[in-house]
């Protein structure tokens, strides 16, 4: 079975030939090249990094995540922190008041003169180089996370209580931009779109705020993506999401990717009849700090908890740290090849 069929089968809650594996390890790819994290701002390095991740680990799904923040926000003319060997971040908000939201536009991802277009060129280049062997996923973005970059995280969180109508307006505007980036990414060869919302978890906002500010927008983004092209979509929210798994499934995505704070067995029991489950090898304790034996144990635990009957993709619970040992990464692929073939052994054997 080729990667595309395997992945599509899992996303539609079916049982493929074996459990697919997904890697979110773009920055780790820079390390595989012996480069610094900041070098990834250079498109050629970025392409090589993503290719290196595929060539070394042969995941069924590979993703450059958000790309890098310089590409996302470099057109806005705001101060950014761009360390030589660390992640980019936004230093000052782009939208400082309600008027800014109306007057200061977001860049068009399709305009070749925009820095944002670098992300699209990366996807095009990777699809051309390795797209027939693996499924390319791209993050369509998020409701509150990206909004936090544009107005400040504390500001948007306080706004949910203090000025909900402005919060709605900003979240919707960012969602429209997210859809444009997702559509351009699909046209560039992306075959799976992930909606990622790091600020919408149960450690950050209440279920009530999640229902009010995130769910309708995520639903709309998912519908728009599907209307553009009928490809699989997933939703990843960091942190403890046990109290909102049902709502995550309500957004209409094909799969839910969960952090290692939530048991895969619980997720499968709760919403496994509506969505496929993606997760959740611990990216810090297991992948970054553990041994290959720990990775094998944790991956087998994931397969045992959520693999039965299909509808499951093995993945890290969140983005992989750049300095993760390559032998740990290799072990995820090795484990699905050894223990992930359907029909799976009984849970006791796993």
């Amino acid at each position: 079975m080729d990667a595309n069929t395997r992945v599509r089968t899992a996303f539609s809650r079916g049982e493929p030939d074996r459990v697919p594996v997904m890697q979110m390890a773009f920055y780790h790819g820079a390390r595989l090249l012996g480069r610094k994290i900041g070098d990834i701002r250079n498109l050629d390095v970025a392409i090589q990094a993503l290719v290196a991740v595929y060539d070394r680990y042969e995941p069924d799904v590979v993703t450059p995540s958000f790309g890098c923040k310089t590409w996302l926000y470099g057109d806005l003319g705001i101060e950014m922190r761009q360390p030589e060997d660390g992640f980019d971040s936004v230093v000052e908000p782009y939208w400082k008041n309600a008027r800014d939201v109306d007057e200061k536009p977001l860049p068009d991802p399709r305009d070749p003169d925009n820095i944002l277009h670098t992300h699209i060129r990366l996807l095009e280049a990777f699809a051309r180089l390795r797209g027939d062997k693996t499924v390319l996923a791209s993050f369509g973005g998020s409701t509150l996370g990206r909004t936090g970059d544009l107005v400040g995280v504390e500001n948007i969180l306080l706004m949910l209580i203090q000025n909900p109508s402005l919060a709605h307006k900003i979240v919707e505007k960012v969602a429209e931009w997210t859809v444009e980036i997702a559509k351009a990414s699909i046209d560039a060869g992306t075959e799976v779109i992930g909606l990622v919302d790091p600020t919408a978890g149960g450690s950050v906002i209440s279920r009530k705020h999640f229902i009010e500010f995130s769910v309708p927008v995520l639903k709309w983004v998912n519908d728009e993506v599907k209307r553009h092209k009928d490809i699989p979509t997933y939703l990843h929210i960091c942190g403890d999401v046990r109290d909102r798994l049902d709502l995550m499934a309500d957004t209409g995505v094909d799969a839910i990717s969960i952090d290692n704070l939530v048991s895969l067995a619980y997720a499968k029991d709760t919403v496994g009849d509506r969505v496929a489950i993606i997760g959740n090898v611990d990216p810090v304790r297991t992948l970054l700090l553990g041994s290959p034996a720990d990775v094998e144990r944790d991956s087998r635990r994931c397969i045992a908890q959520a693999g039965q009957g299909g509808g499951f993709i093995l993945a890290p619970g969140c983005g992989v740290a750049p300095d993760t040992p390559p032998e740990n990464m290799e072990m995820m692929t090795a484990t699905v090849r050894t223990y992930g073939t359907y029909p799976l052994a009984s849970e006791e054997v796993l």
Binding site: I37, R81, P83, D85, G86, F87, S89, V91, V153, E154, L157, L158, L160, I161, Q162, G202, S203, V204, I205, S206, H209, C238, G239, D243, P283, V284, R285, L288, L289, A321, P322, D323
Partner: protein, 214 residues
Amino acid sequence: MDSNDILRRIQEAVVQGNSEEARNLAHEVIRCGMSVSEAIERGFSGGIQVVGDKYESKEYFVPEVLLSAMALKAGIEILKPHLLAGDEVEKGRVTICTIQGDIHDMGKNLVALMLEANGYDVNDLGRDVPIDRIIEEAKRHRSDVIAVSALMTTSMANMGKLIQSLEADGSRQDFKVAVGGAPLSQSYCERIGADIYAEDAAGAVNSIARALGA
């Protein structure tokens, strides 16, 4: 309004995140000559403890906590200059920052504010602070604790470097080192040789108090 009434209303203002009311009540404390340290400790600090409990029990989330923190800050800013010398029983001295390589400071800001409300002398260095500067500032401030946070796994590694630098400098024994942030854990704290770990802001205040034998 007697002083117990005022203390109760201060707590309520903090719990409800009502900055205006917190400011009014702080002025009221000064006007009627109440003990400023009592207003901070039993009123404002008491209120933020309730907020911490509500966060723990998932009644409150980060937006609600941020709103309460603003009310706390608003009141304390007014009261602080009125603290009498010797009025304040200082619980300890803490130098705090987000570690080099990281600008995520929301959690750190909450911890700093809660420490201050609980009677600690807090030296907040901000975010993305180089290791050498942390050590220099902690010495100058004569801190008991160096508290550092990280949200990203890349910057988390700098916490271990901070401890190595303290050791190389011969000043490791002068400070307790507290670490926190989403990718951290008790086992990572132990692995890098830090002294204190907590999952959230309220936990940080308790753990630091325990480590200092309070």
